[in-house]
Symmetry: C2
Subunit: 199 residues, 2 copies
DNA sequence: TACGATGCGGACCGGCGGTCCGGTTAACGT
DNA sequence: ACGTTAACCGGACCGCCGGTCCGCATCGTA
């Protein structure tokens, strides 16, 4: 059921391609002006190798994105509080959203590239479903949320950390990481409890 | 300073093109498989005419979108309550978001097409700035919101009515218009005041 | 070392958005 | 009515991009 033995040069090329793609997406301003030929050339291999390794453009970007996201998913599904399971919902929801925000800030190149493929809406990605299910589950345990509410609320909260919004705030205007985290934190608090931060 | 006289056939062709594009975007499943040649052919004109009239693909879609959006903007900037100016913020913010949601539901084809151009993030559109400024202004008059909060909150609220989310809920799963409106309304209420709908 | 399987690479393809220019036609003065 | 002119039309054409293909090189193995 598992793929047999990948050849050594194949593995090497795969790694080169991932590294080259990573760097190109990080350096070029807009994801769509990183072409597949660019990636292949930067990695020092032919286009055929690129497409054999990743199937298509979306496959390549998904691979990069998944690799970066994995530590965060790990921390949430099996880590210590305040991210891991066993954390009280009122504490976990803000923590998860903060972690997601930081991830999006640091990896907006990839997140934007992923959305820019056009071949799939962000809502078709399987990791989206996981985040949504997690938040929904946590919200359902919060007093004042019924089952219907929590589903939409989870979507709305996730929408607040979408990559292009983050890019607009951090990249476009000069908002820095800490400011944005604070604003998101306040927002989440308001949604969760309604108690004012001040006054 | 203004364009002089458009020729009669030019105006006719322009109208045909808008109508053809409208219908194609509405009928085809995904926006990116409506090609410019398709639009020209459906309107019974050549591609040259299409591009002369609208500049490029983005220009065409923007025109369609703006035409549909105009009544809503009109109602908000110069209409009666609860949308128009002079409405108390606590009433106007939910009303505006509801109007925007309905617009997105009815025109998701166009909104999705606009985002799918890739040439510009939704946050670069000038109408986005108008909605943001409006909401921000209203929020600043609500007790418990300081100037910093209201800017981010406005972004977050607008993110909750983004076209692809709406499409995912209404198109993908079978959520109907009234359910979605109710959920958004609850969410906005929670953000604004924190008073629970029940209990 | 010799041999099969596996992977490599870049010429190639189809289709897209966008351009160009010779032919056509509307607008207007007479 | 008609000629002149400037604007407009249309579709062949271009450059580019994602993706394919297949003869050839390379790896792993006996």
């Amino acid at each position: 059921m598992a793929d047999r033995k990948p050849r050594k040069d194949a593995a090497r090329n795969r790694a080169s391609l991932l590294a080259a793609a990573e760097e190109l997406f990080a350096s070029r301003a807009r994801p769509e002006d990183v072409t597949m030929s660019d990636v292949a050339a930067a990695a020092g291999v032919g286009k055929g190798t690129l497409f054999r390794a990743f199937g298509d453009r979306t496959g390549l970007i998904r691979e990069l994105y998944a690799a970066r996201l994995e530590p965060v998913e790990e921390a949430v599904t099996a880590g210590p509080p305040p991210l891991g399971p066993g954390t009280p919902p009122l504490e976990r929801v803000p923590a998860v959203l903060d972690a997601l925000l930081c991830f999006k800030i640091d990896n907006r190149h990839l997140a934007l590239a992923l959305e820019a493929t056009g071949s799939d809406s962000p809502y078709d990605a399987d990791h989206y479903d996981r985040w949504h299910a997690l938040l929904r589950g946590a919200l359902e345990q919060v007093p004042g949320f019924d089952a219907g509410d929590s589903g939409f609320t989870a979507h709305a909260l996730l929408a607040a950390v979408r990559a292009d919004l983050v890019e607009h705030l951090v990249g476009g205007r000069g908002m820095d990481r800490q400011q944005l985290r604070a604003r998101l934190s306040d927002f989440v608090e308001r949604v969760l409890g309604g108690q004012r931060p001040e006054a």
